[in-house]
Amino acid sequence: MKTIATIKSGGTASWAIRLVTAAVVVYLMFWIPTSASNGMIDSCITALTLMAAAMSLNLLLGYTGLISIGHSAFFGIGAYTTGILVSRYGWSPFQTLAVAFVIAFVVGALVSLPALRIKGVYLALVTLALGLVFPQLVKAQKLEWLTGGARGLDKTGFRFTKDNPTYEIFGWNPWGSLRGENVKPFHYWIAMIIVIGVYLVCRGVVKSRAGRSMIAIRDNETAAAVMGVNLAITKALVFGLSAALCALPGSLSAIRTGNVTPDSTNITVQGAITFLIVMVVGGAGSLWGPIIGAGLFVFITELTGDWSDPDQIPGIIRPLFSWSNTPPGSGIFAILLIVLMFVAPFGIVGMWRRLVARFVTVTPRPAGTGTIESVVSAPAEA
């Protein structure tokens, strides 16, 4: 393949591409709540929830190399913190986000203590057990006064009145005015703010000194220790931060659905597996990976959601799926995951980077000036 174009990092062309991408993203961001159908807004909130959770897991697994199949527990901690504070103590849902963040951070850091000694798949076992225990714990009878037992909690969201004056900003209601009294755009914006927040935190951490320590730990723990990375503190902080970030979409889910039950998808282990699969399909160890993975996951599940009726399946592939009444979404995604591990271990983002690298040469800025971005992203592309 011949190189078609050469782009200088930080040059005009590079900035033009960035601006166009940003413009498209921002346009979509505003187009969805104002013009899309209610069903689509709903799917987008689901996708945003998944994005935030997958991004938090990415920090732990993609960048630090610590495997967790128990992140559903932290998601659950977020959901239950919000649920309990709102429904039992009458807090405003927004205030509970901070509390959920702190509680999950502490629990995550505590869980990380054994993780300092336990490595690889053993850590996966411990976290898997944690993920299995959490739903049982909140179901326990001793805690029913707090968590509502197997029935869970209800009335955990915002309580809207007909002309909801409470959430206006100086008389202007940015969410409400987009679509009358509909609450979906409102939830959409909360989700969007959380995702942007989580993204910025992840980006900030990854591109900082701490991020370089994390990547060093992932690539070679011994070498990292020799180079002066404090393994214990870095791992504990990353674990705590990852847990805390995962609690935010958990709180969001409580706010959005208005109830919390121990059996809802993202609180059981199935949720943790979904976060992990979504993240790996999108691209572990890249900032955009979880975003693309979560988007694709929700797209596929929504697309195939009504395939239980054979007539809804597009003609060509109908014989492939018409034998079952179960929507094939998660099956397709599982196959996609396995295939991707063979052809592109760094997921869709990794595949995209490889594809671009074939046609476009990006020349980094001379070393010593500007950002160290190119240096950091190099090992992920290898």
Binding site: Y122, L125, V126, A129, A140, D263, T326, F333, M341
Partner: protein, 308 residues
């Protein structure tokens, strides 16, 4: 005393199932050093196959070998087509592939044997009634020191003991078993002395999946039903058992499974108020944590020496 014996035997029969799944985990781990996260779901698929045979009117005595054969073929195929090529890339890739397999099989079971969309939790959805291997009517009891012990519990326990004996013979008296031991202790050297390591690894996965299938059928029999979430908790108990016994020791896995089963039932029974039926999965978490922190190689495992 009666209650104690009853709980002991309940624990032993449940523990037997954990032992079977744990044995599968250990056999695979010994060969390749991989933890097969899909072990439980592979067993579940075979259990559904056995259930389907029952629907077709095939007696359990014939359906069980069919299920185990399906398991063997599936395990061997997975090793050859998925695990072997991906293992060259990285340990992490193997982990992800087994996880993908877990998800895929769980979906496949649901797609074939259930009409509703995939459940949220997987637990408690569309249950199919399942026949038991051993007599399990309300009056099938044996009286031991005044305690009424289910014939089923004794049967399951005996089955595991017999199977362990057979496996012991396989590992120590047959050429295949000895080759498996050789590959487990040093794959490179085993290859040099002319052992066909690829064949051995394929057989290990096949045997592991077949034993898993047996475990699945037994467990479905104890529960008298099979559902999509059947193996979730069994898998974590089995992992706890393998961790406790040592990940490279088949005997340890069996003993570990029995110990976990008994601890779990005793904890749930005697600490009804605090642990009870709901929190007994916490036993697995505690056991895994304590073993990994105190003696990472388990009771009978060989400690790994790591060179940097």
């Amino acid at each position: 005393m009666e209650l104690f014996l009853q709980r002991l035997f309940d624990g032993l029969s449940q523990g037997s199932v954990y032992s079977l799944i744990a044995l599968g985990l250990v056999i695979i781990y010994r060969g390749t050093g991989h933890l097969n996260f899909a072990q439980g779901e592979m067993a579940l698929f075979c259990t559904y196959v056995v259930y389907q045979c029952g629907e077709w009117g095939i007696p359990l005595g014939i359906a069980l070998p069919i299920g185990m054969l399906v398991g063997f073929v599936m395990g061997a195929t997975v090793e050859v087509t998925l695990i072997r090529p991906i293992a060259k890339k990285s340990q992490f890739a193997v982990f992800i592939v087994t996880l993908g397999l877990f998800q895929f099989l769980n979906w496949l079971d649901g797609a074939i044997w259930k009409d509703q969309p995939l459940p949220n939790s997987g637990v408690g959805s569309s249950q199919q009634s399942f026949p038991s291997l051993f007599p399990n009517k309300p009056d099938d009891f044996v009286n031991v020191f005044g305690a009424a012990i289910k014939i089923q519990s004794i049967g399951v326990f005996a089955l595991v003991i017999v199977l362990t004996g057979l496996l012991f013979l396989l590992f120590n008296r047959t050429k295949l078993g000895l080759s498996m031991n050789a590959v487990a202790s040093n794959a490179e050297s085993a290859k040099l002395v002319g052992i066909r390591t690829n064949l051995v690894l394929m057989m290990s996965w096949g045997i592991a999946a077949a034993i898993g299938a047996l475990g699945g059928v037994v467990f479905a029999g104890i529960n008298s039903n099979v559902n999509l979430g059947l193996m979730f908790s069994v898998f974590i108990y089995a992992s706890a058992a393998a961790t406790l016994g040592g990940f490279d020791s088949p005997g340890g896995a069996v003993l570990g499974g029995l110990i976990i089963g008994v601890i779990e039932n005793m904890a749930a029974g005697y600490s009804d108020e605090w642990i009870g039926q709901e929190l007994k999965v916490g036993v697995a978490l505690v056991v895994i944590l304590v073993v990994l922190l105190v003696k990472p190689s388990g009771l009978f495992g060989t400690a790994k020496v790591e060179r940097v």
